[in-house]
Each structure stands twice: as structure tokens, then as C-alpha cells.
């Protein structure tokens, strides 16, 4: 199963490093990253493989949100199906 990790907020140093090392610790493998910076606004979207994850998705999503608070960004981790359902016919 794959999850989508979205990180948004004001651009600053070391965001990718912090988020990716957190995910690595949790056994989550990042398959794809794309990022855009619009002015000061930063948005990064990662596709992550959860097959070897050490925790359930809903628990990890909570921890991601928590990490986001610590580094002053918004971080969401969601099952990819929600995007497939809403944006594909």
C-alpha cells in the first residue's frame, strides 16, 4: 500500500532531510518526491511505500502531523486511494 505525504508551509532549510529521515526511521520507503517553491511558500509531495512500515497508517499520520508542528510546517500522510477516488473517473 502507498501513502502520500504532503508538506506545506513557509520555505526553510532542512525540511526534506527532517521528513525523510523520520520516514526512514519508521520503515517507510520514499518512491517519489516532487517539490515546488512559490515565493516563500513550500509544497512537497512524496509517494511512500508502506509495505515495511513499522506502524499503522493512521498512527503514522498522527506522528507526521506532530512532526509538522515541531518544525513549523503542515504535514499530512494519507492513503493514496483518497486521491485516486476523488481525481480519477
Amino acid at each position: 500500500m502507498r501513502a502520500v505525504v504532503t508538506v506545506t508551509g513557509k520555505d526553510k532549510k532542512g525540511i526534506i532531510a527532517k521528513v525523510s529521515s523520520f520516514l526512514a526511521e519508521k520503515g517507510v520507503n520514499i518512491e517519489d518526491i516532487s517539490q515546488t517553491v512559490l515565493g516563500e511558500y513550500f509544497a512537497m509531495i512524496m509517494i511512500a511505500d508502506m509495505s515495511e512500515a513499522k506502524q499503522e497508517l493512521s498512527a503514522l499520520a498522527k506522528e507526521c502531523a506532530e512532526l509538522g508542528k515541531q518544525i513549523g510546517m503542515s504535514i499530512y500522510m494519507q492513503h493514496e486511494d483518497i486521491f485516486n477516488a476523488m481525481h480519477n473517473v
Binding site: 502520500v4 506545506t8 516532487s34 492513503h79 485516486n84 481525481h87
Partner: protein, 451 residues
């Protein structure tokens, strides 16, 4: 595959525009719980509800965590209770209390189904059952009640309509310390549906499977935001925009409904496409109508705008779900919609306009507070009017009206939470008692004879 913009759009819908799954409602058949006595039946009912719905709160919380979409309410609907206690109707309150206790044990918001279906006429056990409703609503917290008083196929049971006028009065009176909240947990229907996931009118029809999951989506804020992106669009384009938005919202509902059904060992029932507002700012159906171009909801043009909105939501939603059902239309409850509350406070929307609006959307005169001294026959006459609209137009209509004890026009009632607050709205003070006291039936319309 989806694009980065799709991802960001979904997140914005949830974070900024109040997209949520309004309710996961588990429908349970209780017919197998009938025993020789009310006491045994009540025990069996409690056990069955607690067992079958044991995981509903946890499942909703898991799904919400995984998909990143809030699931606001967890609910249960059951077989109309009057059918369970036909042999001992005076003891129906025992079943009601058992259901309320089960709801508390499960930690769900509401449980619906303290209901009776009397659309053609009233059997003696149903007459006794209906009289127990006010007391039961006053002594329970989470239990909701509904009575179907008419249908397109059978006409309107005016004896039941008259009774319901009295039941609303008494339900409000017995809960006068809480602004008459008893009446807010009661609905009088015409053409009630058997798979409605929304309260207070949900019950589990006898034509349904043992355990079913029905889901109600929502998202007035998302629709309003979409319309704000095209402020100069003509109404054809605006309808297209609403359709596209409704499609996305409903797809989220369909996904959650199917997954919830799987995890709860239940049949996937339906997705209800209703646009349901909450008292939160930016989660209002009234504000969508205002975005379409009416200065204040209730003004001329409101009915036309609502008709377009209601239809476009259905067209977008129908394609997004494999099974659509329930009420599926825009809700216009006064106390639960900030735009409606403001319009009512300013005297810009009246009961008459609300009645007209119910001709083109679901569901009816909903969450409207009226003076506490309104005669029961006047309330019955309002129910008759709504039932007539439903009967003639082949649609569901309903009345959930609160004759707030001791309050008059200018006062306000406040229930808190999703039920919200509402100013007392004026009603016509002419006497309708002669019509109501005639009794009998309003015969089914000619177009009901389709066989």
C-alpha cells in the same frame, strides 16, 4: 494517477473548506430480537446493537486517520421500534431506553428508529406507541424518533398528522429546560426512505439487509469555494462547477462507505448525496445560494437557485457512487446553518419561503423554532402542508419544528453542537383546527395509480 495539484486541492478542501464525511450510519435489523415480553426484547435489542456496532467508532476513527478526512458522526439506525412491540406497545419505552443505553455504550452520536410507519392509517398498537414518543425523547439523550404520516401511494393519514401536532408540543414541553430539545429529535415524514443515514429521521427499513452501512457526505463549503472561483459564470457554467465538485465529494464518500462496510462486516448500502450544513462559518447551504447572487437567502430567486443547486449536486453525485440513496438533496435546516440563522434573525426568510424551498430540495421544514404557544392544530397543519408537497411531487418531505416552551418571536433557542441555535420565527396565527379535526385521509393523488 493524480497530480500534485489534485493532492493540494483535496487537502485544501479538508483544511479550509470543511470537507468531511458527515456520517457513517450502520443500519441494523432488530426483527430477530422480538421475544415474548418487552423486558426480554429490550435486553436482546441492547445486546444486538452493542455487538453488531461494536467497532463503528474505532473504524470511523481509523478511516479518518488513513484518508485524512474527518468523519464527523457515527450513528446507528434500527428497525422501526413500533414493529418490535406490537404485542406490548405500552412498554415500548423500555426498548427506547435500551437503545439509548446501547448508543451510550458504543459512544455514538445518535441512534434513530424510535419510529412508526402509519402513512395509510394507524393501527391500535401504533396509536399507543406514538403517544409514548414525547416521554421517551425527554428521558433519553441519543435516541431519535420519526413517524411517516403519508406517501404518494397511500395519501396522507390525517389522524396521524393531528397526533403528531400534539406529540411535537408535548415533546418540547417535557424538555422545556433545554429549549424544547425533545422536538428537535423528532421528524414527521411523508414518503420516508428506508436507508437514510441522517438524523433525526434515520430508521432501518424492513426491506433492508441485516447489517448495512450507509454514508452521508457533505461539503457546502467546498461547493461555495468552487463557485467563488467563477464569480461571473452564467448559471449553466455554475451548474457544471457544482456537478464537478459534487462528483469529487461523493467519490470520497463512496470510498469511505465501501471500506467501512468491509471492515464492519456489513453490506454497503448507499451514499447519501445531501449537502448538509453545520453552524460553522463557511459550511452553509444558505451562503451557496447567496454566492449564486441572492443578497440574503429568502429573497426572490432563492427557490430557483436552490433548485439548480439541488439538481446539480445529484447529477455530479450519481455518477460518483455505485449506489445512491437516502435523502440526497440539499438540506435547509434553519438552526444548523449560519446563513439561515442570520437571515432569520434579520427577518429576511419566512416560514412561507422555507415551505416553497422544500418543493425543490430535500427535506422540509427543518430545525425551525416557533413560539411555544402555537396551537397543536397549527403545527399539525404545517405537517399537512409539507406532507402534501411530498405526496404530490413524489418526494420525501419532513417537518422537524420546535415549539419552544415559553418563548416568543424575538427570543432564541440554543441547543449547541450540530443542532445549533435559532431565532423564534413567526407563524400565521389564523386557526386551522377545523381542517385538522376533520380527520380521515387525504386520498392519494391520481398520478400514484401507475399500475
Amino acid at each position: 494517477m493524480f497530480s500534485n495539484n489534485d493532492v493540494l486541492e483535496t487537502i485544501a478542501m479538508v483544511q479550509e473548506e470543511h470537507l468531511d464525511i458527515r456520517t457513517i450510519t450502520m443500519g441494523l435489523s432488530l426483527l430477530g430480537c422480538i421475544r415474548d415480553t418487552a423486558e426480554e426484547t429490550a435486553r436482546k435489542v441492547y445486546d444486538l446493537v452493542c455487538t453488531k456496532a461494536e467497532k463503528i467508532v474505532k473504524t470511523a476513527s481509523d478511516l479518518s486517520g488513513e484518508y485524512g478526512i474527518p468523519i464527523v458522526n457515527k450513528r446507528v439506525s434500527v428497525t422501526p421500534v413500533s414493529l418490535l412491540c406490537a404485542a406490548f406497545p405500552e412498554k415500548a419505552p423500555l426498548i427506547g431506553k435500551a437503545l439509548d443505553e446501547a448508543a451510550a455504550t458504543l459512544g455514538i452520536d445518535f441512534l434513530g428508529g424510535y419510529s412508526a410507519l402509519v402513512h395509510k392509517s394507524t393501527a391500535e398498537y401504533e396509536r399507543i406507541f406514538i403517544k409514548t414518543i414525547p416521554e421517551v425523547l425527554a428521558t433519553t439523550k441519543r435516541l431519535c424518533s420519526s413517524v411517516n404520516v403519508g406517501s404518494t401511494k397511500s395519501g396522507i393519514n390525517m389522524e396521524a398528522v393531528k397526533m403528531l401536532g400534539e406529540v411535537f408540543k408535548e415533546a418540547a414541553f417535557l424538555t422545556k429546560e433545554q429549549d424544547g430539545i425533545g422536538a428537535a429529535k423528532l421528524v414527521a415524514f411523508c414518503n420516508a426512505v428506508e436507508d437514510n443515514p441522517f438524523m433525526a429521521g434515520a430508521f432501518h427499513g424492513v426491506g433492508e439487509a441485516d447489517v448495512v452501512v450507509n454514508v452521508g457526505v457533505s461539503g457546502p463549503g467546498v461547493v461555495k469555494h468552487a463557485l467563488e472561483q467563477v464569480p461571473n459564470a452564467d448559471l449553466t457554467e455554475a451548474a457544471e462547477m457544482i456537478k464537478r465538485t459534487a462528483f469529487k465529494i461523493t467519490r470520497a464518500g463512496q470510498l469511505v462507505a465501501k471500506e467501512a462496510a468491509k471492515r464492519l462486516n456489513a453490506q454497503f448500502g448507499i451514499v447519501d448525496l445531501s449537502l448538509a450544513p453545520t453552524p460553522a462559518m463557511g459550511d452553509s447551504v444558505a451562503q451557496i445560494l447567496e454566492e449564486l447572487g441572492i443578497e440574503t437567502v429568502g429573497g426572490h430567486g432563492t427557490t430557483a437557485a436552490l433548485a439548480m443547486l439541488n439538481d446539480a449536486v445529484k447529477k455530479g453525485g450519481v455518477m460518483a457512487s455505485s449506489r445512491v440513496g437516502g435523502l440526497s438533496g440539499a438540506f435547509i435546516p434553519v438552526s444548523e446553518d449560519i446563513g439561515m440563522i442570520k437571515a432569520a434573525e434579520a427577518g429576511k426568510i419566512t416560514l412561507d419561503k422555507l415551505e416553497a424551498m422544500t418543493c425543490v430540495c430535500s427535506v422540509g421544514l427543518d430545525m425551525i423554532a416557533i413560539p411555544g404557544d402555537t396551537p397543536a392544530t397549527t403545527i399539525a397543519a404545517m405537517i399537512a402542508d409539507e406532507a402534501a408537497i411530498g405526496m404530490i411531487n413524489n418526494k420525501t418531505t419532513a417537518v422537524r419544528i420546535i415549539p419552544a416552551p415559553g418563548k416568543k418571536v424575538g427570543d432564541e433557542v440554543s441547543f449547541g453542537g450540530l443542532l445549533g441555535r435559532a431565532p423564534i420565527m413567526p407563524v400565521h396565527n389564523c386557526d386551522s383546527s377545523r381542517l385538522i379535526n376533520r380527520g380521515g385521509n387525504i386520498p392519494a393523488p391520481i398520478h400514484s395509480f401507475k399500475n
